[in-house]
Symmetry: D2
Subunit: 311 residues, 4 copies
């Protein structure tokens, strides 16, 4: 089914922005290498008022996924109830478990999530991701220490003067520069860049069909900009951090292919920037300490997170 004679434009772009080998042949965290010790010190200095903002959606059975689809919402199950205990001193106790996709609700895509032509980021062959060990390389588990850094929010919806971007709107490099200028902030090396599309409102309104539908997102045009700025990770408030349908005929996720596989960029999805964006618009401060550590699940391809911004 693969047309090996065809040259795909996104794969050509991928070669131009490739970071393969940049941090050595064994590197598994890609652009998270931009998060240096000095970067962390500077990021911590951004905590000025001490206010905390929760950027995560809850994990539960009322999550974003619909009945019968490939991904399902988290199932939270009690495994011990107060009635199970019977001790002389009247102890009561409770325990619980969860059955969940690691990309259910707010989450990171690791560098083992998307590739093409048989390889993931940094020359990792497809077979390194298998049922026996999960992601033997590029696992999310390797990334946990570098996900606390400076965060910058660019409000693309506000730039365009709307509450939420329209369906299938493609965010361009120009949009990113315009948002910087409008907000008076500059994206720098080692930042986690947060792009607000306003799309998460569909979820809050209970409209899963639209939330999972033809969403706006960053397109291939934005890739060189993201590469040059040396961002550490990218996250959006919609379900896939990708224009849907994509501008490349017949190809579902060209942006993912290039940024995850070639650049080695972690991609965050289903974040919620509504409260944070309101605050930033009020005080004019669009930078903060971003905390998005996630879970160190061995061999994991993705990670659920509850990210917190501290201003």
């Amino acid at each position: 089914m693969t047309d090996t004679t065809k040259t795909w434009p996104h794969h050509e772009l991928g070669r131009k922005v490739s970071n393969w080998g940049r941090w050595g042949p064994d590197d598994e965290i890609g652009t998270l290498n931009y998060v240096t010790d000095a970067k962390r010190v500077a990021a911590a200095q951004l905590v000025r008022s001490g206010r905390a903002f929760d950027l995560g959606l809850p994990f539960d059975k009322d999550g974003p996924f619909k009945d019968g689809g490939f991904r399902v919402n988290p199932q939270h199950i009690m495994t011990l109830l107060p009635s199970d205990t019977n001790t002389p001193d009247n102890l009561i106790s409770a325990d619980d478990m969860v059955v969940m996709g690691l990309q259910a609700a707010t989450q990171w895509d690791s560098l083992a999530h998307i590739g093409y032509d048989g390889f993931f980021y940094n020359n990792v062959p497809a077979a390194a991701v298998n049922s026996f060990v999960g992601a033997a390389r590029n696992s999310f588990a390797k990334s946990v220490k570098n996900l606390i850094t400076r965060g910058v929010l660019l409000d693309i919806a506000a730039l365009k003067g709307v509450d939420r971007l329209e369906s299938s709107y493609e965010i361009t490099a120009q949009d990113l520069s315009d948002a910087e200028e409008r907000q008076g902030v500059r994206v720098e090396s080692g930042d986690v860049l947060l792009l607000r599309t306003g799309w998460v409102a569909w979820f809050h309104e209970g409209d899963r069909k639209n939330f999972l539908g033809k969403e706006p997102g960053p397109g291939l045009d934005a890739v060189p900009w993201l590469h040059t700025r040396e961002i550490a990770a990218l996250a959006t408030d919609n379900h896939a951090c990708e224009v849907m349908p994509s501008a490349v005929e017949g190809v579902g996720v060209p942006f993912h292919q290039v940024v995850i596989r070639d650049m080695g960029l972690l991609v965050g999805e289903m974040f919620d920037f509504e409260e944070l964006a309101t605050d930033c618009a009020q005080d004019g401060v669009w930078e903060f300490l971003f905390n998005g550590t996630g879970l160190k699940v061995t061999g994991s391809v993705g990670s659920p997170i509850t990210p917190i911004a501290l201003k």
Copy 2:
């Protein structure tokens, strides 16, 4: 089975250190209220070198639990493999899921985990924790914003001149004060207090039986000290943050009962302080920015975490 005529010493102690009502009748986060905006600002200032320390155990099937017990190790399962994709542009993709106890490996006990006499923290009745909604009150999900604060590590094993404390050793108030003096640090309101027992070495040595066995931990004697100092949360590097067996004849977890149910204190278990303790011993700095957000699972009683300390 309950002896209602008997007065339990730990329940009497509980009344003395109770925080019920202190932050209002609807409060669900207890001592995390000590984490104020000002506290967060001060905590962020502690990031001086930018070094990051991972304080978590990995989540996988080789975790701390043993075959056939009540709790089981996390099961990580691939739900999409590179071979599943077949597109013209040669995309490969992977997805995964996890089936896990929310208290598997490194984790927080929420204020819905332990109670007695029919109530959890702040007058929440046992029936508020049920199979329909999980923890309708005191859920861990309420706590996520307040788990980034100053952390202080007290190395009790080093205080006692050993690599790991002996079985069933009870950490006292005097030990805590002695460790402060020895290290030149003071535990303050709003801190997350980390107690190193060295016990996690059993896990690293592959000895689950001892790791889950008669562990050292804080006893009832330490409770008033913890209460007075107004710590926000407490965590240890063993499996239960409790002396085992406890000093109260026939009672399994008296410390948990008092600090979680009466004080409203989050308790962390199965942390790993080995690398951090070595570093702190070298530079003499035992305070840092502690990040232990966890996951916002609706109705959850506990939360897996990968805590990170930034110095």
Copy 3:
């Protein structure tokens, strides 16, 4: 919340049809005791043409349950794919798992599923069903050997001249006798009685809302009839084998309470009798060898099944 002064009519009925103690104080299988060796021999003789009828719904994510409800549809997950294997002789292999409620789709309710006043069938206290061991008594696991016996299908929908019974229709003792007479068959000791309501058509039509809605089913009036006839188990083709809403004001499942807890009768739900009923109507034979063994899950309260009728 319990009104202890009130005498409930279904509980009074329960006392009249009680089988507690009938098969000894340790009995855990209730009316399945009617399935004797002689009964099995006679039942096997009913296989005359050798045709097999599958009476089960499939177990999958497109099952009867809806998004966000208490019960969820089965999740079938591949845990090994052909691409995972790489041996000199080119082996390919696949493995899979399931996460499912034991009462997802076609299933048996065991005698540990429903009780009242603190007890399950045969004086088993509520606490015998707990998180540590599941159902310490009355588990479905005890029943597996007695679920192959004579089956008799009574087509109540056909009796009433409709494709499916109307919402909330209550099947009475008279209906059962009338159906016997119409079909020329008699329900006997040790039979599994199958009642066709036609309701499963809602599921086949993809209308989960109606399938899970106000269904027809056997009412309290039918209980003495079922008791006298000494049936071994009862199953229907709707989701709960109960008139919904029930005829007892404010009480959800009075029929379940009496037949499961007092009589000790296994109840089957979400069976599919469409193909079998058509065949029986054609040849006038409404009896067959019924095979509904289920799974021997230790401590289980229910069991998924794929029942097969052999004529």
Copy 4:
């Protein structure tokens, strides 16, 4: 890694006993086609005393698998406890779920479980088994109607005069014929053939290491015999129905490859014949009605079962 120049002896054997196309190009149940209506009628006649024998191991966390391996034991979890209910009439209720491999404990391997050279039984390509739909072809779900038929037990351990066969003993065609002669029974078209090795005793003795170790089983020599006799399915009382290690150097499961992929034969594993064998030795009757329906899980590769023999 594949040596394409090499001709494998088991693959040559596979071509000789191949049933591909025998029941048409769309057939998905292979030798289960031998279970005809007439066969079912004859099998039912074998029920003479009405005694039932449970041939299954329980499904629970104390099952055959060991900590940290690829397959894990079933996890049974209560999802509703008596304490969760609070109605005026004092209802109590319980519900539960299971997380389990479909090949945990007693189970069938379907025709989508094992193949080679890129194909499963009847020319089904490897890609037909994927994460999206499970087994799109050859799923176990197709087989449920044909798993009630005549069963014949051949006691190979008794033939060899031992309680359990020695490690790695290979059962030959001669052994099968000798056992027939010794027992006075003949395996016929459409039978489920049960081979007793006595190996299950390791499991009953709590020795999982030996149970999962170098087991005895049928070898390639027996394949033509099984093919000629037209058995419908084959099951053993050890963990893999295969000599371990196999007689083919460097190849793990040559017997599985040939019988499942080429013959289209369902293979059952981890059955328990101890009680049945004792009974058969006493009355000299080694044939019975075998019931091994399993669960109709859509797209499933295997199925847990609790098989029942009726004599």
